[in-house]
Symmetry: C2
Subunit: 220 residues, 2 copies
């Protein structure tokens, strides 16, 4: 009887692939932040502002996820930020395999990698990509009910940035109601109210990110 050679499957799950990505980033001592928010909540503006606020020796890479185009990448490049673009074509989220595909393009050492996920409050939360933590951005224009309506992201995000606080006088947004919704999903979430437009609140979130960068270097 002829023997059939069974090849060991090389397929791994998203979770396993995320763990491999994490090892890659750990090896370069880079903090990886998976930024998730609705379309237009201000993910790119947040990144541009925080990169401008971080001290110079901190090397930042942005991995930019979009269905199509490179509008955000071009904005970041104007600011001389290193950026790698991923176009998902139809997928509404980034996954660990997409991130794995771009790892060979990373040729230098970075201290922080901000991954800007596709604008979507639902599916991006379901896929680990190898991040240290998820950072959700909720903008005041979206309303204070979002943590109640899209619970998974707020359940999983260690950090929640409340953006566009400059619009508070013009929109119906009760920050206590939003906070209660976030706390209901994750009592340990850290909240940072900011305005990427005016720069309000960026001292605090930048200090936090810097602290995490240093903590990661000690750990790995």
């Amino acid at each position: 009887m002829k023997k059939v050679k069974v090849l060991k499957s090389v397929l791994v799950s998203n979770k396993e692939r995320a763990a491999e990505n994490r090892r890659f980033f750990d090896d370069m001592n880079a903090l990886v932040v998976n930024i998730i928010a609705s379309p237009g909540a201000g993910k790119t503006s947040f990144i541009r502002r925080i990169v401008g606020t971080l001290p110079d020796p901190i090397n930042v890479l942005v991995i930019e996820g979009d269905i199509r185009g490179q509008i955000d990448s071009e904005l970041l490049a104007q600011q001389s930020i290193d950026v790698i673009q991923i176009n998902t074509e139809t997928a509404c989220h980034l996954d660990a395999f997409m991130i794995a595909q771009v790892l060979p393009q990373i040729k230098k050492q970075y201290d922080v990698v901000f991954v800007e996920n596709v604008g979507n409050l639902v599916c991006p939360a379901e896929f680990e990509i190898g991040e240290d933590f998820k950072l959700a951005i909720l903008s005041t224009a979206e309303g204070d009910d979002k943590p109640y309506k899209y619970p998974l992201l707020f359940h999983l995000a260690a950090v929640v940035v409340i953006n566009k606080v400059d619009l508070m006088p013009h929109v119906d947004f009760d920050i206590q109601e939003a906070t209660a919704g976030i706390m209901q999903e994750n009592p340990h979430a850290l909240l940072f109210p900011v305005s990427a437009k005016t720069g309000e609140g960026f001292k605090e979130i930048t200090e936090f990110i810097l602290g995490e960068v240093h903590a990661k270097k000690k750990k790995t």
Copy 2:
């Protein structure tokens, strides 16, 4: 040899199920509008405002899609609007099968059915549910680049409502840039700038919807 009875598959595609839903709504002469937008773009506020603006004899049903909870349904019910809630649990969009499941609950004749999809600019566009047309809502706070970044919805939506025009003085939103992006995807799209908060622009969109209601009655 024993005969194996092959059962005819009862599975139908989403498209086929959508066509069946469409026949159900056509039989009651109801116009069906599939409302798609980001979280917090103002889908519920839009519906509340337009239902308040439509003349009394027009019977409206809202089918409300949310991951979890019934915050929006409760708001609509306060205004004595008939509403059926669908909770998708994890799904980031409504599909034709979910709509089919609630059809038996529809016991009276409606002139318009507004379907409020899950807040998401990506996947809801991919699933027909039996609608006459898709209505996209883009809010000024989200930015004028959204049609370029989330092209499929703007390609498919016959009607685009630009909401939150009251925020225009406070946000960076170039309506000409947004319009160009929408027209690039769909030169036949009808645009309605409105504010669900102040009521601005609702005369025009209400007249349009009324016209569609009457056109549908003549056709079916």
